[in-house]
Subunit: 471 residues, 4 copies
């Protein structure tokens, strides 16, 4: 999915990748792995490679193929590597925040890449600056790096374990030394991280299993809550860095972020989305002529809805696959073209029909109202917007860039007012219970804070402030 | 559809766009129109604008947003414009071939953009050079331009009509003077061209109706075979430039090229593709557990197949939406990753299943055999490849870059050998009759030469030679 | 000299280069040759190469190293080549005007590059369009190309000779076929063109001898007025294409354009400039403490003045060598920084001194007045501006972009008013006689039209109109 | 001077610039200041701006105009700023080393840019990492930043003073807080740093006075050895951060690095160079016909030599001003073209003459031998190479990238062998005494370690190791 062109969706923080594979071109494999994770971040990309002694780094702003070309890849020689993609926001972004970070500390050279958000970052940073640390970026990762350095006198693994006691919130980490690869997941396992093995020898870790598939690795399992996986010359070692806490996998990964072909903490993402659509159809059996998705994010759920309801599925909205970051937005004169440049309704399919339009979620509601208007313009008689997730009413503090609560439409007005605002004939959200039912016995293993306000880890009281002023 | 990353498909020649809209930002509207036609050509893009007197041109290599930025667009001031996108081949490409062409001739300034291929280009060029013309490119368009200039002493429209008598083959043209826009379609109407009207006044012509939709124009009708449409201050005038011949619309537009939301010579592309899938299911009722498409080209037909057969439809192959032109191909070490970087099979969906994989066409067969292998690797028990078009056994001379006949797999060996080569359990092509049945009474309005060898306009005897040596 | 940052100088039209050298990397040698001619044009660059059969072309906007990289050069394989650099104006510029032109005509493939300006271009273009030619650019070169094609039925050399009868004005041409290189100079020999031989075999032609030196060629002689030089497998042949007319070498080449190390029609440029300074000192023996040049254009003349007068030479103005095309001009707030960003006066050298500032010419006078103010600011007591050329009072029609007469300061007011305007204590121009004396017996071999209005070839009556509207 | 294309010269480390000027466009003034300092570093450029509260940073690889465009400059709003240019080496270079550094520490936000080299960097870094610091780059600057942070609990100025006690070696620093600008020079005053005042109010500090001139500031004085200059709302304050030690200004600034128009620690650079040439003529009165410089580095000294000796000065070598970073080096086939692409001898001037060729210094000798060969090729009868500095026989540890001693030709063989190697008829170096005489009473204020081995600050024993492995 190309998240860039639909600003009305939450932003994912990052994707991480790590590989230990002597004899293989690990830089290029990391490049392909990051390609498969590109949907998790389009702002910057980076790869750090180690060859037993030296660490080499290349990173930059832009998509993976914009940052890496033949020359950059061929200069990154070694047998283990980590990589990172970072999300794109509409606001200012800076090269200084690109990852991985590669740094020298008392224990030698280290590389680190991070997905997630810490909730006690301000406190940790203050503690570190008070005793002389400096910070060049606003990233959590630089705080983690400094913490490791403070504990690093007595060995890296010990340092990581001490860090984990300090770090509150979400983190899936890959760490690189000259000859070791570490993968670390927080005790709640908020953000995904999985482990695979290569046929010809070697291991891979990645945010999503689609990246394992892409580089030809066989998925072994997810990294466990609180686990530290250590991969080096002597093979793979697993440590329980911290006692696991109650699992709190981010449920939005299933709803929207993750690629449909990923298998994540036991569930295939595509199947979950399909089931969400089915469940939605059971909860809200609307009478209509057609089910259409908002492509691509609503496609799987729409299919599920259609199957369950028996109402025909149609691709009533055609997406322009070429809309990218450099697309010039319409000027004032052409403002009315709006969302039509990206999604085109097929009049022949839609005219005169009662339509159920399925999307995965509704955050600010700006795009939805334009879509509804566009459908009516095509002669659609009724538009029922069905969402395969509950209303988002709380901010996320664990690694998703939802808006502040003031911007969350469902947090600002009653459901029926939202419906009127977007001018739909019906507006239906999947229930929280219905959503969790899909996961069966594992229904309590997820973080649903953005729907329920039930934060597994305490969060800062004041709503997430504006961007850190550095840069 | 991003055609670039699947070399095993025919290449489209071009897309054209024209607009006459006083008071509107015609350069920007052309930009959006070309965006909607980007699937028809990714090699180069260009826009020429007229303001009553002057013609201004900007063109360059690359995708529309790579060639045009705010600055270029804002410098193109006027009230009428034409635009062009050109296809990308794997071989060398040259800025000299980019369109539109803007030139001065005895009648003043003229701009021209062209979609299609002439069959008597060599003869025409020889005739012109014999009497002193020069050619800077290898394009048909430059030949047309010179012909117009030769006849241009007595008025542009007359010149165009004389040209049409000389031109053999396929052409959909847009022509720009300082204050007039012309749209011309050959008497067989090989390549598409349609006409729309803007709410606030003005007209639009485009290769496909999706471009009309994108700029907010209402589709009026297709440009008729042999018609010359003239748009200027006094409105729209239609001339029959040449008597229409038997219609010979390119059927591959419906099978593969056109965007699914386009309405073309009376048929909605998406619906035709769905019907092709249905028909395929009727012709070849394979026993299987799942129908999966090769995304995105096979998706509509696969859905039709599933609906008709009652076999469940699944998205068993996940496409990486970020693979673009700058993607670094796998090196020798990673050759086995092959098509997996672009399409990832979802093991959970596929394992242990008998699968019908639907694609739109099979040209060289190279990708298909890799896909079949990948599916088997996932534990698929049986793979039946069903194609929603007949075997391509002849080259096209009217504007599609099919390979030479020696490269067309279906032209080189019996069907069963093709099946063995790609290692499928079954291989089924839609019948020619079945394909034409979809169009009902209009079944004879199409060019099917690539399937039948029945060329509506005589073609050069020797197989299409190598690339013209200029550039 | 970097002409870009001193807008107050005339603009040179172009530089041309040609090479015939089997067994050598002719594309790369042309690249180096164009590098040596870069001062003659910074807007665009191009190279066409032939390998006995095929012609290949690459050209683009920008400096030679911006247009050509390893890849472009290595794709241009062959044993003969031509190249071109085009000047940069402040106004709009277009890729369509870049040279060489490569085209197909009745006689096969041809490449052509041109330096100079024709005076009957409008008439020739009209004659050609009247009989069916088309023009995609506003260049003289495209007109020449079409003329050659009209005459080209009976052999290229004959065609070139016929063309020469039609062409009025200035032209130094290099022409490329699959296996022949031609160099042509108009019968007045307005623009320079010289011929060299390579040690390892082969010939080179170039606008200036510095390009011969750069590629390791030995200078043989200048191409003669009206001569056609033909180089091919059988060696070098010379034809008198037209009877020579009175020589009219552009004297501004010696004053400003040419590189100081070039030897041109018998005179070393550096030596001529030095002599112009000496002569100036003889004509205007100002009493002063220092002679300083406006670098780099006035350096040689300033040294001559100092030598002749015995007044010490000092580099009182330091030029910033890094100012290039992308330099951001000062905003309103910083307008007073003016020319200081480019030229910095050395206060220690200048304070309290009476200074003779020597420059090569004064066109619009805008920069000079700023320089004078800057010197006064440094405590200079007197500033005498001495120019090593006579006042420019007429436009050039033979290949130099002087301004229209309305913009030529010396054409608009008496000398003393110019002096007051630029606020100099003295203002002295080299006399026409004094300038010509330097060339001794050959004093009548030069075009001095911009000083005298004595045009060797009749020029269009109305002053040179605004830019041609195409593009 | 464009240092890039003459690899046979030492590399300068950096240039720094700082400005405090409420009401002015400080980002743009810094841009112009860095432009004037571009000769001190072409690898990267950066500007940090403060507006009373916030610090904003932009930096990147390349020349100043490649890193900054209108957009970048206009986003940097504030009233005080610092800037930095970094040198270019032939080896790998990295964005991570670009300056200024902007960081958050216990005292708030801070920006820092540095010119010079510390001699105890390894020891300082080890001390800091031992107590938990991390380093992302190999720069001295990051070490200084961390030291400031360690001492920063009790105020910035105190922290800087404590740092100065730790730092050994050369440093000229500019430091930026939200509302204060600091300039700091080490107690030996190795690297230059001067102070200027703006007419409209405000102060400027810069590595060289040419940058003050360029932004329209009046030079007040040099920053004194060990001085801390503090500029803020209340004006300028000066503190003696450390007691001054014996002055040890880098004498190579005068010989080669600095721009000729700079006034540095009391001496005009151009005048010093001229005097070095004069002194050289007195020490080595060679009999010859011409004095020619190696442009541009040898021009001033050559002029001095000519004046003193009475032998005529000629520009016998013409430099191509367009050779830049992207210039494609000659391939094997063209290796013999060598230095000729950059410097072209004027045969008319040189043939048959006995020539004194003056350059500023001889480091590895590779270019000189090519120049000598080229001159002989032109028919020069004798070539005497005269160098306006003594033989470089020791490495620099204070901020100049001389080669290791093994690469210094004068350190590897007797003078006469060097002469034979470069095939000159004579080879003369300015004597150390002769060089120092120029500075009169201040003869002991300079660091001459590269000539004498007399290091003012102890240097690490092992010869400067290879590049730091980070990046």
């Amino acid at each position: 999915m190309n998240h860039q062109w639909l600003p009305d969706k939450p932003g994912e923080e990052c994707g991480v990748f790590g590989i230990y594979a002597p004899g293989r071109d690990v830089a290029r494999l990391t490049y392909y792995g990051l390609y498969a994770l590109q949907h998790r971040g389009q702002e910057s990309a980076g790869i750090a490679v180690a060859d037993g002694k030296r660490l080499q780094l290349h990173k930059g702003m832009g998509l993976v193929p914009e940052v890496f070309h033949h020359r950059e890849l061929s200069e990154l020689q070694g047998h283990l590597a980590i990589g990172h993609v970072r999300y794109s926001t509409t606001g200012a972004s800076s090269p200084i925040n690109a990852q991985p970070l590669v740094f020298r500390y008392a224990g030698g050279m280290l590389g680190l890449a991070h997905n997630g958000n810490l909730t006690n970052i301000t406190e940790l940073r203050a503690r570190l600056t008070a005793t002389g640390s400096v910070f060049q970026s606003s990233t959590d990762s630089e705080v983690i790096v400094n913490l490791i350095a403070r504990y690093g006198q007595t060995g890296l693994v010990d340092a990581v374990m001490k860090c984990m006691i300090d770090l509150k919130g979400a983190y899936s980490l890959v760490i690189l030394t000259g000859d070791r690869l570490l993968a670390v997941r927080d005790p709640h396992a908020f953000r995904p991280l999985c482990l695979g093995i290569l046929d010809r020898g070697g291991y891979v870790v990645a945010s999503e299993s689609c990246a394992l598939d892409t580089v030809g690795a066989r998925r072994l399992r997810d990294v466990a809550p609180g686990e530290i996986v250590i991969i080096d010359e002597s093979g793979l070692t697993s440590l329980q860095g911290m006692l696991p806490r109650r699992r709190a996998h981010c449920i939005f990964e299933y709803i929207y972020f993750a690629r449909a072909d990923s298998l994540m903490d036991g569930f295939n993402v595509n199947r979950v989305r399909r089931e969400m659509g089915r469940q939605l159809a059971r909860e809200y059996p609307v009478e209509a002529d057609l089910v259409i998705p908002v492509p691509d994010s609503g496609t799987a759920a729409a299919r599920g809805y259609a199957e369950e309801s028996g109402i025909p599925f149609e691709e009533g909205l055609m997406k322009n696959r070429y809309i990218g970051r450099t697309f010039i937005q319409p000027s004032q004169d052409l403002r009315d073209l709006g969302v039509r440049l990206k999604l085109n309704p097929i009049r022949e399919v839609l005219a005169g029909k009662r339509v159920i339009m399925v999307d995965d979620s509704l955050v600010r509601g700006t795009t939805s109202s334009k879509l509804v208007a566009m459908l009516r313009d095509c002669g659609v008689k009724e538009v029922h917007l069905c969402l395969s997730s509950p209303p988002v009413v709380h901010s996320c503090y664990y690694g998703i860039d939802t808006s502040n609560e003031e911007e969350l439409i469902a947090a600002q007005m009653p459901l029926d007012e939202v419906r009127r605002l977007i001018n739909a004939d019906g507006l239906h959200y999947l229930s929280i219970e219905g959503m969790l039912d899909i996961f069966g016995e594992r229904r309590n293993d997820f973080c649903t804070a953005c729907f329920t306000g039930d934060y597994p880890v305490p969060v800062p009281q004041p709503p997430k402030a504006g961007k850190f002023s550095l840069e």
